[in-house]
Symmetry: C2
């Protein structure tokens, strides 16, 4: 298929390269030229404008930082240039309402859309092992499936327009909360003279077990916070999560507290660190700054 | 080995039976006679008093509800009757200070002790797949190992007297927090018209994945709250967890909030339900009572 790919950053770059590898004709656009050159080196095509990237595309994909970026690019640049029979898949993490608004505006012009945010991070993007949560019509999902299969391993159609973003919002609340729970446990064990590694082995083996202990305990115990997934981005995602909850009239006490704690990590100047820097905050709160 | 086993309840009963199966001579005592009769039927011996159960024992094990029970039985009944070379293992979940106080008092009479609380629930007790977190001296741990091997699969020596209880306290904070995070996600997805099962599959497959989604999502989605592990007991354990944190000067914001939420489940009359009834509370808080 002919694919126009907008946003070739840490996530979008390797995703576009994987689409080339899967045999698609990918034309990429990115504000910085270096990212476009990397796609060309991987066998893709270069476009100097969004319109050039999407004009002949069967499928258009965006992977952009935040809701305003998607609104501007989708409505201002993609919509005027796209073929009427194109499928537009936004894989950015944005507000569900943004996805719904884009879907309605595109539908009025006969263009189908999906919201399909991902989890799995840079490594998942490189390895094509992303989890992809997809909102939109079953027909559009069926059409997108061969493209998404080249990007991820867990691919679920979770509901109508915006549902992918809602699941992503819930995902980010659970991930942040789990990091914070593990951080509190580490500081508690550390402060009481317990063998922290042995303690985490027990926790990891029982009902307290989780993917954060499995995959992040080692770097957390070493207090290594190079990202990974940056606090700034997770902070943005938690804002979306609380907004979704508020709009739905759902009360999320733990989600609300962990969003405040992530905001504190950022306010203290650690926005560029990995989100596991919640541990650094719990240590600071407990007067155990290293 | 000759083992005296005090407390043959939901957990202690199957644990004592597994010790019989492993070839030990187990003499059991319990306040209700029916539990003792079950042990006799499984091949154990009956004792009508604590003193009778422990008098000839090489290893003494208690599995009791709470700290005051352990203090009373250990100091008031076991200590006067036990052999000087006996090993006393308390497998109840109690305050670390209780374990430390018992250890010191027993040590003054030359009797070694371990605190060795478990996780894994009734099924883990029956299947001998418990996780066991052990505090005390390495020598006492080495001596206890053949006994503990008959009860669990993950067995870790985590530090000195009381360390087993501290790890259990951290475990219970993480378990409660994880249930609450999953409950908030379920209500959020449910309220926004998302396919909740598909959404949880995505969460479970990524960094948000945890043992609660793996093992409890099905009963939570069905709103089945028969225990399992009762809210009353988890509420008690969270009290211990917050006390440990306070004593250590460690600040646990998420732990503190989830302890309050568990207290609310109990205050609303659901103390006898499974601890996943945190979901019922989030629904009530969100005006979505079924």
């Amino acid at each position: 298929m002919r694919i126009g790919f907008i946003g070739l950053g840490i996530m979008g770059g390797p995703m576009a390269a994987n689409l080339v590898k899967a045999g698609h004709a990918v034309t990429g656009h990115n504000r910085s030229r270096a990212a476009v050159q990397r796609l060309v080196a991987a066998g893709g095509g270069a476009a100097s404008t969004v319109a050039d990237a999407v004009r002949d595309a069967d499928v258009i994909i965006t992977m952009l930082p935040d809701s305003p970026d998607v609104e501007q690019v989708a409505l201002g640049e993609i919509l005027p240039a796209a073929q009427p029979d194109a499928l537009y898949i936004d894989m950015s993490t944005v507000r569900p309402q943004t996805s719904v608004a884009v879907a309605h505006t595109f539908a009025a012009r006969g263009i189908r859309t999906l919201d399909a945010p991902v989890s799995g991070g840079e490594q998942g993007a490189i390895d094509a092992t992303l989890s992809i949560m997809v909102g939109g019509s079953p027909e559009a999902f069926g059409r997108a499936r061969p493209v998404l299969d080249a990007l991820g391993t867990t691919i679920e159609h979770v509901g109508p327009d915006g549902a992918g973003q809602t699941v992503k919002a819930a995902n980010q609340l659970v991930v942040a909360g789990t990091i914070e729970l593990v951080a509190e446990a580490i500081v508690l064990l550390d402060a009481t003279g317990v063998d922290v590694e042995a303690g985490l082995r027990v926790l990891g083996g029982g009902l307290a077990g989780n993917r954060i202990i499995d995959r992040r305990a080692e770097s957390m115990l070493a207090r290594r916070y190079e990202p990974g997934f940056r606090v700034d981005l997770h902070h943005k995602d938690l804002g979306i999560g609380l907004e979704v909850a508020r709009d739905a009239g759902v009360v999320v006490p733990l989600g609300a507290v962990v969003a405040q704690l992530m905001a504190a990590v950022r306010a203290r100047g650690d926005g560029a660190l990995d989100h596991t820097a919640l541990l650094k905050l719990v240590e600071a709160l407990s007067g155990r700054t290293r």
